[in-house]
């Protein structure tokens, strides 16, 4: 079980939700905003091509990263960009957690979260 108070999306917190490779590529994309896959690969020289490719596919599929197909150059290629910044990804993860809680414990959870928040404030 993840300790809720430790969820923050700084370097360590990120790996609670993403694998180390996913976190590393996300950090890269947050910094550079737009990258091609050879550029990403260059920054992850220690990983295999297959590993980087698999990670990029996963990130794109989960919606944390978007990619467009660029055909303007001599070759077809993907251009990757992050969907939302660090903060937005945080919100998205929180929403997912709440969805999970509701699925598991029912809507009463959401009420109790609301009550607890009021008490806390």
């Amino acid at each position: 079980m993840v300790k809720i108070e430790r969820i923050s999306l700084d370097k360590e917190g990120l790996t609670k939700f993403f694998s180390p490779n996913e976190a590393r590529i996300l950090e890269l994309l947050w910094e550079k905003k737009k990258m091609t896959s050879p550029e990403i690969r260059q920054q992850c020289n220690d990983l295999s091509l297959a590993c980087v490719a698999g990670t990029l596919d996963r990130l794109a599929k989960s919606g944390f990263v978007s990619r467009t197909i660029d055909e303007t150059g001599p070759r077809v290629r993907y251009i990757y960009s992050p969907v939302g910044n660090r903060q937005k990804v945080g919100t998205k993860i929180c929403e997912k957690i709440i969805d999970c809680l509701v699925d598991t414990f029912g809507t009463s959870t959401v009420d109790s979260i609301g009550k607890n928040r009021k008490r806390g404030n």
């Binding site: 896959s37 050879p38 490719a53």
Partner: protein
């Protein structure tokens, strides 16, 4: 020992000794042909006759060795189910992930007279399925046109010369040889002939194919 005696008496009683001996001879001849010629036709044919031999043996049994029939059927059933699952998964993926193929592929398509589809994935993929070649964006990204040509040539060889994968897997299973025809080297040779050895080796290297050094060595030898 009782098992063997029972087994022999089963066959003798069933009156299938001569047909079986004939089939065994044919299988042996086909296997020799395969060893010398290395063509898939003789491998598939020998696996087919072997399948017949196994089936005749198993189904003429009426002794306590009948459990072997169930083991054999079990192996084939599980194998076929697994293959079906793989095929289903592959088809699902193909349906979902095809994108418009870039214009510069049309020259290659014309040269080899093949259909090429582009798969929307960063992974390195190149394969044939139902008379069509599939290449992934991840692969196209990394290669020059001449290198793509080498990859396509390799796949074109499979398209024209390789046995049906499903059929050869099934026969490998039913004949209990568990051996599938491997003609990767011939496909590589064809690619070298049509696109040049450096283009193929460069492609294998850029795509970080696991055994690329071994394949390159075999080609330059």
């Amino acid at each position: 020992m009782i098992g063997v005696e029972c087994f022999l008496s089963c066959i003798v009683e069933s009156g299938l000794v001569y047909p079986l001996m004939g089939l065994i001879t044919i299988t042996a001849i086909l296997l020799f042909m395969y060893i010398f010629k290395r063509n898939y036709e003789s491998l598939l044919a020998s696996q087919s006759t072997l399948t017949v031999i196994i089936s005749v043996n198993l189904f003429s049994m009426n002794c306590d060795m009948f459990t072997w029939v169930w083991i054999y059927l079990g192996i084939i059933l599980i194998g076929t189910l697994l293959m079906g699952l793989v095929k289903h998964y592959l088809e699902l993926q193909l349906d979902r992930n095809i994108i418009r193929s870039p214009p510069y592929l049309s020259e290659i398509k014309k040269k080899f007279k093949v259909d090429i589809s582009v798969l929307d994935t960063q992974k390195i993929k190149a394969f044939t399925y139902k008379n069509r070649i599939y290449l992934s964006v991840g692969l196209l990204e990394r290669l020059e046109k001449d290198e793509i040509m080498a990859v396509v040539a390799h796949e074109v060889y499979h398209l024209n010369h390789s046995p049906n994968k499903l059929l050869s897997s099934l026969l490998a299973l039913t004949s209990l040889t568990f051996r599938r025809f491997n003609d990767e080297h011939y496909a590589d040779q064809y690619a070298v002939k049509t696109a040049g050895i450096h283009n193929l080796i460069n492609a294998l290297k850029k795509l970080e194919i696991r055994d690329y050094k071994k394949r390159a060595m075999k080609l330059s030898a």
